[in-house]
């Protein structure tokens, strides 16, 4: 018979305020097989832990029940105490009398009675617990990072510089992401590509980083420390090691499509370089916009390249599937802009001079469609009156996005300031609801924009934009003065919201990670675990998790890298042993359990004609146990016998 010790925590007033601690401790001490019962104000504290350890030694306990908060909080703490005191870790059970009792009830009598029951049940369970050891599995000490923007690049560098190999998977032809599209960054007005470029090159040159461009994750199998990933790489028609960016192919290509890098403001050919500083530094052939490859309709690019004696272009290239084994995955898939055409009151898509903030960004950029000169898309004239509308299609739970994208107040201030620098006799107006400038130096930057920059900030929304006599008539209001405002603008810039990149939901499915109601990757805990998804081994970085600015993205990327490195720092990792077990004699070989398992941990042994559990893959969910008609399957330390004992204990 096991000698059980029960320890009841007051948890300050969290438990003691609703549950009569003395009563339940007394009752516990009178329960059969309980040798000692004690209480303490904070069992998780040093003295509290010492109390448990001392009692284990003094009373020669075989098992302990800790009546306290949720196992999600301190199961590991108390298991470690048990081990430190010489017991097997799995002889420690938590009776949750806080989240499942004191926190949800206010009637002291009834809560106390319920706490009795919970403790009795835990006692019955721990009496039948087996002594178990964690299952050790090897860790593949490599990481996979999905998304080659600043978040992915930063995380890749951090992991690679710690000596581990990294696969950096990028959907487009070059790494760099959105930051490569920006002109300057707030609040310092650093040139964006100038600070990003060196990091891109460093990633390219780092021997531990393998960049897979034009690639997407197709399938993920396995579990933390042991992922098997299939990455599909689109046909690479241009060899990145041979290509020297001479651009002869571009000259002869007949197919033209809108250039995504310039937000559709310019055109590119079917064979193109994503942008001048692209890494890998090679051209890309976009099969979708090419006149035809199967069968070959044109082939001029290859002819031009071959004529120079180069052989970079292979029009018969095939897609390739890379099968990678990694231990940790970081999702850094970033964002795109909300579709402004849905905001019909502003006339985006109808009036060419109504632009999104990203389009304006490209126009500001020296590498953009007008080499950094701001021009009206309709007639190319330099605009003198520019209206910026913040919160466009955001903070509108009834009509568009319900959330705030955090960075628009700052980039709009920057846009307005830069416009005033470039067009000193121009006037900029910003329609705002609030100014969110919480970062370091941000508030000062906005103040500078208003004072030095001479930008007029109007507090109110814009009702409608329509065209009249070649001007955009903007009708809004300034609630601070209580007056309606009409501005005849040359250009209107909409600060639209950030939404998760296309394909995020599908990727989340593939990774078995979850997304929130807005499609952003969901973190395990919003306050304390913002870098991990709820799925073990998958970490999150950047705007793919929630809208954020560059400093936060970089910080989060390094954080996610450090979490991944935690994982990769050891050649093995321990998995919980409370997994499924098959009693071979009872197994009839029916095979029902095999498809029932969501983690593919069960398989049929053809020779012995019985099922087998791959313990390393098992997550202990119990689905197979429920499916087994012969009762051959059970969960270690949660057997039917234990459950029946707990039910009986609950009936008093």
């Amino acid at each position: 018979m096991k000698r059980v010790g029960v320890f009841v925590c007051h948890c300050g007033l969290n438990i003691a305020g609703t549950v009569n601690i003395k009563e339940i401790t007394d009752a516990a001490s009178k329960t059969p097989d309980v040798v000692v019962a004690a209480d303490h104000r904070y069992l998780c504290s040093e003295p509290g832990q010492a109390l448990i350890k001392d009692n284990i030694k003094q009373h020669r306990l075989d098992a302990i029940v800790v009546a306290a908060c949720s196992p999600a909080m301190h199961e590991i703490t108390f298991r470690n105490i048990a081990r430190a005191a010489g017991l097997n870790r799995y002889q420690s059970e938590i009776a949750n009398i806080r989240e499942q009792c004191s926190w949800v009830h206010d009637n002291i009598e009834k809560a106390t009675e319920k706490a009795h029951v919970i403790i009795r049940q835990s006692i019955e369970k721990v009496k039948l617990n087996e002594l178990l050891d964690p299952i050790t599995v090897p860790v593949t000490r490599r990481a996979l990072i999905v998304g080659g923007g600043i978040a992915g690049i930063r995380a890749a560098l951090d992991v690679a510089n710690s000596g581990h190999q990294v696969y950096l998977v990028e959907k487009t032809g070059s790494i760099g992401g959105r930051m490569a599209q920006l002109s300057e960054t707030f609040p310092t007005l650093d040139c964006s590509i100038c600070i990003l470029g060196p990091l891109m090159v460093e990633a390219y040159r780092n021997p531990n980083i393998k960049i897979l461009r034009l690639s997407e994750v197709e399938e993920v199998k396995g579990f933390i420390g042991n992922f098997k990933v299939k990455v599909r790489q689109a046909p690479v028609y241009v060899d990145e090691t041979e290509c020297n960016s001479c651009a002869e192919c571009v000259k002869v290509c007949p197919a033209e499509v809108p250039n995504e890098f310039d937000s559709g403001l310019t055109w590119r050919k079917a064979i193109y370089i994503p942008f001048a500083q692209a890494v890998p530094p090679a051209y890309v052939l976009d099969a979708k916009s090419c006149l035809g490859l199967l069968p070959q309709a044109c082939g001029e690019c290859k002819k031009a390249c071959d004529k120079l004696g180069m052989s970079c272009i292979n029009l018969d290239a095939h897609p390739e599937t890379h099968e990678l084994e990694v231990g940790a995955i970081i999702s850094a898939t970033g964002y795109e802009m909300y579709d402004a055409a849905r905001l019909t009151e502003y006339g985006y898509g109808i009036y060419p001079d109504v632009m999104t903030s990203l389009e304006f960004e490209r126009m500001l950029s020296a590498s953009g469609p007008t080499s950094g000169v701001i021009r009206r898309p309709s007639d190319g004239r330099i605009p003198k009156e520019v209206v910026f509308i913040q919160c466009a299609g955001q903070r509108e739970p009834e009509t568009a996005l319900p959330y705030c994208s955090k960075v628009c107040c700052m980039y709009t201030a920057r846009h307005a300031m830069l416009f005033r620098h470039k067009v000193p006799d121009g006037q900029a107006y910003v329609f705002y609801m609030d100014i969110r400038a919480g970062g370091k130096g941000y508030e000062e930057f906005v103040k500078r924009t208003q004072e030095e920059g001479g930008v007029l900030y109007l507090r109110g929304r814009v009702a409608k934009v329509h065209e009249e006599n070649d001007k955009l008539v903007v009708k809004g209001v300034d609630t601070l003065s209580g007056k309606t405002v009409q501005i005849d603008a040359d250009v209107v810039v909409l600060a639209v919201g950030m939404v998760p990149s296309q394909g995020s939901r599908e990727l989340a499915n593939t990774l078995k990670a979850s997304v929130d109601e807005n499609g952003f990757f969901a973190e395990a805990h919003p306050k304390l675990r913002p870098l991990e998804s709820a799925t073990a081994g998958i970490f999150l970085a950047g705007a793919g998790q929630a809208p954020k600015d560059i400093p936060e993205t970089v910080a989060q990327a390094s954080g996610a890298a450090s979490k991944a490195l935690n994982l990769l720092s050891s050649p093995t990792l321990e998995r919980e042993p409370t997994v499924a077990r098959i009693v071979n004699e009872f197994c009839s070989g029916c095979g029902i359990c095999v498809p029932a398992c969501p983690f593919e941990a069960l398989s049929m042994n053809r020779e012995r004609k019985i099922a087998e559990v791959a313990e390393a893959l098992c997550e202990g969910c119990g689905t197979c146990v429920a499916s087994c008609p012969s009762g051959a399957l059970s969960l270690r330390n949660l057997t039917d016998t234990q459950i029946m004992a707990m039910i009986r204990a609950g009936r008093g």
Binding site: E345, R395, E396, E398, R461, T479
Partner: protein
């Protein structure tokens, strides 16, 4: 317009009885432009109608028209009586 629509709502949020002194809510034609535009889906026309109704029920004032506009479709007269009466 003496009290703008958002101020009518603001005064109500702050419990300011002066809101009843405003003329603007009497001019609301219930065109619902406010409700279409409001990011939080507020219907100021409903608020205005409520204010009118409270005032009319308190004052028990009926709409009196000496000379109905000739040729006005009865739709207009019925709407006016329904909007500007205490019911």
């Amino acid at each position: 317009m003496d009290l703008m629509p958002h101020l009518v709502v603001r005064y109500l949020q702050l419990g300011l009885e002066q809101v009843f002194d405003a003329k603007s809510y009497w001019l609301c034609a219930t065109c619902f432009s406010c409700e279409t535009q409001c990011p939080r889906g507020l219907d100021v026309s409903k608020v205005c109608e409520a204010l009118r109704t409270i005032k009319l029920r308190n004052d028990l004032r009926d709409l009196k028209i000496e000379k109905p506009p000739p040729e006005m479709p009865q739709q207009g007269l019925v709407s006016a009586f329904r909007k500007l009466s205490p019911y």
